[in-house]
Symmetry: C2
Subunit: 392 residues, 2 copies
Amino acid sequence: MNKQRQNSIQKLLNEKKIGAFFLWRSDELVMSLGYQSLWGVSVCLFPFEGTPILYIPELEPRDRLPENVILKTFPWGLMDCSNPWDILYEMIKEDLTQLGIESLPISYIQHIGQSSPPLMAGEGTPISPDLREKLAYVSKGGYQDITSAFLELYAIKNDVEIERIVLTNQVAAIGIKAFYDNLIPGKSEVEVASAVEAAIQNQVNDNDILYAKAWPQIQSGINLTNGGRFNRSTGKKLQSGELVMIEMGVCVNGYWADITRTGSTGDLHAKYLRIFEVVSEAQEKAVKAIAPGKTTGEIDKIAREYIVNCGYGPFFNHALGHHVGFRYHDPGNPLVPNGNAVLKEGMIYTVEPGIYGEELGVGARIEDNVLVTSDGYRILSDFSRGLKWETK
Amino acid sequence: MNKQRQNSIQKLLNEKKIGAFFLWRSDELVMSLGYQSLWGVSVCLFPFEGTPILYIPELEPRDRLPENVILKTFPWGLMDCSNPWDILYEMIKEDLTQLGIESLPISYIQHIGQSSPPLMAGEGTPISPDLREKLAYVSKGGYQDITSAFLELYAIKNDVEIERIVLTNQVAAIGIKAFYDNLIPGKSEVEVASAVEAAIQNQVNDNDILYAKAWPQIQSGINLTNGGRFNRSTGKKLQSGELVMIEMGVCVNGYWADITRTGSTGDLHAKYLRIFEVVSEAQEKAVKAIAPGKTTGEIDKIAREYIVNCGYGPFFNHALGHHVGFRYHDPGNPLVPNGNAVLKEGMIYTVEPGIYGEELGVGARIEDNVLVTSDGYRILSDFSRGLKWETK
């Protein structure tokens, strides 16, 4: 847990006169403590002042826990314990009393909603619904909903967090290199995806990269007409002279990047090349406009107007970008037409214009992750975005 | 949607006098309709008689939808729609009236709890919490909770479903072969995991395997002492003469297998070989005991007593097995000490004894997926379970 983040959370709790906030969703634990839960059932009691208490299940690994928290275990996952949740509830109740805040309101996000997967990503196993309901009554001060204010904390990343998200982008670059290396006619979309996943996962070491996982989706040729509606990899084999797109979420140690590139398997028909060039130009213009004080609508407008002026307006059918870093899509104000939220230093936005359509027979998108700095922007994913891999 | 499954669901709704059940969690949609949602926000209105209505978002692919349902779309994901959930709510309300069941009680599982990921597995994006709360009031007949009775439907698989789970196990075999092929000193745990993931994902074609994904966790040598508490892959490199374990969930077209194998990187010390042999023998004995009419406790006892008699009792610290097929771990009665639930034809159980401990310096588990047949059992994962890959 970094001090800046602890301060920003406790400042909010003081403003809202909340005694403690309970964290339990995977991305909340990363955002607040920098802690990536393995089982997905850890819970943190974050008091308005002093040191947070982290309750982990007995089965949780002990070697990758956050610093500067008080650790307690509860018997989830043990064969002889039929209801660990009641035990956890009593522990939390007791700790509120010990902290002398048993009469102050508590808060937490009650529903899982949009959230990142825990390490055991093959199955969602959140804390029990019963506990989630019961926790609202754990304090004499009652429950107070500060969900939207809490989610606003995701928007501004501090220096420690930016450094971690930079690392994620560095790992993503290795996956993107593997993507370009595998643009070989005859390979299937899933084979390209597999190569990217392996390249990224294989970066795990016992030093700074303890977890690295990618969720790439590869679409090629005609399949790209759907690229603005959904992304998935199929058994379709790449053909020569096709556009091929990768849409990819990457998670390293709990911190996320969201990258898109569009490459080609060989010389393109002029009409496909033109689409790529328009997307590329629109993306670059929008990125260069990013600066504190601008509005989300202004940035969106730059890419959108360019695409409209080039005659592809109806084919750019989604938002220009969204916050990213603590999960694949962070909460916060997206870059959309007429958006009036103001960009601030420390925000990280995806910038991802695209053009796709059945009438066009193809699609393309380019997406970078861009930090708003004190006087402009910094591209965190500043690696090749052409039709072929290019080393700077 | 297969007719047998439709009948079993509608029989339950008739018994409970429920007008309609709403399905929205990924594994519910697979169990009920054989449908794997891409975005994870599709909802099905399953009436007590007649044809189910499936509401899909505009952005959902149209080429892999279930047959024998009425399809409707709602505007989730479209840039100009700020609240698709209110629209979906009104559609459901209107359809209940059209079906003439607007005064009968409705039911659904309100919380997400344990569930499988949708195709877009990098981020959970379930239907909005607001809709989940509001749906309870959509019918004049009110909400009735039949969660536990509904989850009982997961336990018995019909012939169509068994065939699909067999396919998943066939794909899993290819991943397990890749696991054994990669037991090479110098490779890291994550590198072995990557090879397995690629082998499985690469089975996707445009014919019968539209989606194949594996969540393998590889542990080797000393890391296996934790194999009974948690599974994960690290950057540790395999050394010669080590035990190496793969714990793996595999999903093909929405249907799951859960397989564990323990291999070796070369000649083992006698004490490690002994642990492997005890696990192997315990597992085989328990599998062979499976038959309709037996209790969950009887099956658990066979493996557990054998391990206790061999002197490793304290090191087998988890349940013997659980239901599997619609997700990594299906709901239902597990194989546990003193369990008194009765095995029935059509159930699929994992059988997975293990021995692990810091004192032992290692660990091992073997896990198969076993169908209860009319007069005994059938191993669906009937491929090599030795220290090396062996073709039958």
